[in-house]
Each structure stands twice: as C-alpha cells, then as structure tokens.
Symmetry: C3
Amino acid sequence: MMFKLIEVLGMIAFALSGVIEARRRNMDLMGVFAISLITSFGGGTLRDILLNRRPLYWIENQELTILVLVVSFVASVTLSSKRFHVTEKTILFPDALGLGLYSASGVAIALHSGTTSFIAVIIGIISASFGSVLRDIACNEIPIIFRRGQLYATCSFFASLAFVIMRNLHVSDTYSIFVCIIITAVMRAFAVKYDVKLPL
Amino acid sequence: MMFKLIEVLGMIAFALSGVIEARRRNMDLMGVFAISLITSFGGGTLRDILLNRRPLYWIENQELTILVLVVSFVASVTLSSKRFHVTEKTILFPDALGLGLYSASGVAIALHSGTTSFIAVIIGIISASFGSVLRDIACNEIPIIFRRGQLYATCSFFASLAFVIMRNLHVSDTYSIFVCIIITAVMRAFAVKYDVKLPL
Amino acid sequence: MMFKLIEVLGMIAFALSGVIEARRRNMDLMGVFAISLITSFGGGTLRDILLNRRPLYWIENQELTILVLVVSFVASVTLSSKRFHVTEKTILFPDALGLGLYSASGVAIALHSGTTSFIAVIIGIISASFGSVLRDIACNEIPIIFRRGQLYATCSFFASLAFVIMRNLHVSDTYSIFVCIIITAVMRAFAVKYDVKLPL
C-alpha cells in the first residue's frame, strides 16, 4: 500500500517532467503522452524486467496509465494556455521528487526480491534514472545522468544508499522515504544553483 | 495461423522501411540487416517482453529472421542498382501497412494475454510503433512518433481502438485487420499530404 | 566455469572501452561508471532477457558489478593523471577482445538454451554488439555497428559463425574461443587500418 502510493507520486512527478520536456520541444499531444508515459514507467518497467516481476504494475493496474494520461493532458493544456515560460529549471522540482521516490521504492523492491544491499542500490539508481534516460534519448539528447555537473545519478545513489542503511537500522519506511526525497531535492538544487561537480 | 500471416506481412513491411532508412544513411549491408531486423522485430519483441510471452517468436521460428534478411538483401540490391530515388515518402506505404497490421495483432495478443481493452490499445500502439522508434534512435534521429504533424502514433491509436471496438462487436478478425490497415494508410497519407496536425 | 571466466574478461574489455568513450566526452565519475556498466552488461543482459534466463548474472553475482566499477575507477584515474591521449584507436583493442569473447559466449549460451545454430549466431552478434550500441546511443552517436567501414557486426558475425562451426566439429571450447578472439582482433585491425568496407 505504502509503496503503491510512492509509486503513484513518483509517477506523477516524472510525468510532469516528461510533459515539460516534450512541450519545450514543441511536440503535439500524442508526443506529450508518449514521452510522459516513457518517463513515468520506464524506470519501474526496466526494474521489473531485470528482476523478472510480472505482470507489470501498469499492465495490471490500468488506472495508473489513465492517471498519467490525465495529468499529462491537464499539465499540457495549462502550460500552453498560460504561456508559462518553461526552462530547464522548471522540471527540477518534479524531477527531484520522482528521483527520491523511485530510488526508495526501487531499493525496497529489489531487497524484497532477495538481492544484496549493494545490488539493491544499483537497482534503486536504475529505477530512478532510467525513465529520464529514455526521455532524453527519445528527445535526441545526451541523457542528463551522463552530463557532467548535474549530479543526477549521484543524488539517486545517495538516496538509495540512505534507504538501504536506514532499512538495516530498522527505520520505518515512511520516514526513510521522506529522507530520500530531502536528499535528492536538496542535492539537485545545490548542484544546479552552485554548479557543483564531482571532483573526478 | 491468421495472426502468423499478419505478423509476417507486417514484418516485411517494416523490414522494407528499415532498408530504405538505412540506405538513405548510406549504411553497408550489415547495417541494413541490423536496422531492418530491429525495425521488424522491435515492436513484437517489446510486446512479448512486457507481456512475458516466451520463447520469442523469432527465436522459435528462425525462418522469420531468414525471411527478413532475404527481403532486406533483395530490396537493398534493387534500391542500389536502380538508383531509385529514396525519399521520406518512399517508406510511407510499407510503414503504414506495418503500422495497421502490428496495431491489430498487438491488440489481439494483449487481449489474449488477459489485459483490459484500454491496456490492449496501449500495447497495440507499442507493438506498432516501437520498431520505428528503435530504427530512428539507431539512426540518431528524434523518433517519428514524437515528431509533430506525422500522426504516427495517432494512426496506430485509431487502428488499435477500432480493432478493440470491432472485437467487442464480434466482427471477424480478418475484416477488422483490413479496416485497421485502411485507417493507418489513409490517415498517414492525409497527414503527410495535407500536413495535418493535432490541434494540441 | 570456463564461460564465467570468458564473461569476466569480456566484461573488463568492454568496461575499458566504456571508460575511454566516457572520458573522451568529458563525463564525470558517475557518468563513467554508468557508461562502463552499460557497455559491460548491456549485451549479456539483453541476451538473457531474450532467452528468458534469470536471475541475471550480474544481479546474482554482485562481485561482477564491483569488479567493473573498480576497473573503471582505476582506468579512469590512470587516464586522467597520465594525460594519456585517448583516440578512437585506443578503444580498438579492448573492444575487439570483448567482441570475440562475447560472440563466443553468446553462441554457447544460446545453443545451450536450445536455439538452432542460425539463431545462436544472431544471439552471438547481439550479445557482442549491444553493449556498444547502448554506449553509443547514450553518447548520442550513431552506433558503431551501423557505421559503414567499421566491420563491427561483421567481425562478430564471423566469430559467431566460426564458433558454431567448431562446435559442430567438436573442437574444444577453449580453442574455439581463442580462434574467435583472433578473428575479431585481426579483422577489426584490418578494417580500421586499411579502411576495409563491405562491397554492399
């Protein structure tokens, strides 16, 4: 139940980042739908394919797909009508939220599937970042996680690591997830504002 | 049996669109083979991975792969020798045919796997368009389904929707498939000729 | 056991090619890690997803992932500190080694899964080349296997074909693998040095 809710929130967050990115590229509604579905479900789908979990959550629960489509439609119309100026910074917050949420749920699901803590962290990073990798590849850009000075995968790594550590310390999942979101949101904000880079 | 035939026709249609695209980019024979296999089998393979159907049809039936390679070889040599002028419009017809066929078979297979009608439509669109997404990503272009004014995914959506509706009305599959092909062919032709765009 | 060793060697070879490519693009350490993991595990992962083999080898054996990360870290630091001039030719040797090794192991695993010899050759090529396809797509380049005059997939094809033939002639796997590596290394060296192209 708890993880269902997380998955839904992360999904909406990523859908919004997909809508913004698709609109910046002047795509039509079908393109917006495709990009937001890819961004929302890409990470979780790859996670489930790698761990061999079926049926896939969005095939089993069609209301998730409907929700993403509705959110994308509303966001898309709102963005168009208000002539809202959409910059790279606009997608920062929804993206950071989704990043924290998916890192946490990815780690939890991997541990539940019996992986080690180390592999769970890797799966957490994949769950959280693969949607945006697909989004950026579809838009013919070098994915944000490979770009220097974005600390994108780095944020997800710290969130995933924090979640594993808190699990081992028996911290409640609700609290852990909250910490993961704080980590990704603060780190991403710093990374973009002060142009923080990894030393290597 | 019926669906085997559809799958084969759609496969050849997509293989041709792959050959044309690869030749436009001046790839060698190995590149042509790779692109046409990806375009032919990409959508069906993703559909089967998402629905967890194994063994994959092209692994089980090697004659499908051989067929695509032979078709690609013949098409490739023909295109080269006749100095046939290959434009974006040349791939329009095989592409529209494959689009209609794969939408129909994708929907039928998804329904057979027990998905809802709504998810079956999504799977239909994925089956029909993912091969061309891979083809365009491999050629380092923004995939056609994300480009405004192509109505690519939109055609597949209407074909998939029509198939689901006709299934519920107990229309025979043969007839339904024919209707799906007409829909995609006519819509794509209009979209390209009159530069039709989605209003949003 | 034998194939485990091959998989490890091929993995390191591809990891090195990933590090070199990522460093050429001036990525940070996280980008280097991501690209080298994708290049190392991409082909084997797709092979196992297509053949439905689970759990995935790198999820089951976390030391493989740790090994790739350590190798990438060391290689990355070495490349940076020595101001080693990294050109396209630098990745030629590790890449050719990985290509031969993965072609051989891909064919062996496919045959073991019960595919025909023909499909095993296709799987061999996919196993060997898909990592580099992902690497190049992630770096927003047309994948090397689609570029004319690289003979990349062609090398893998001949290595895979040689392996299948030697299997049928009951040649020992150790010897066959050695032959596969010679084939890919010599062919790639020739292809790049004399700019050999396929006639079609």
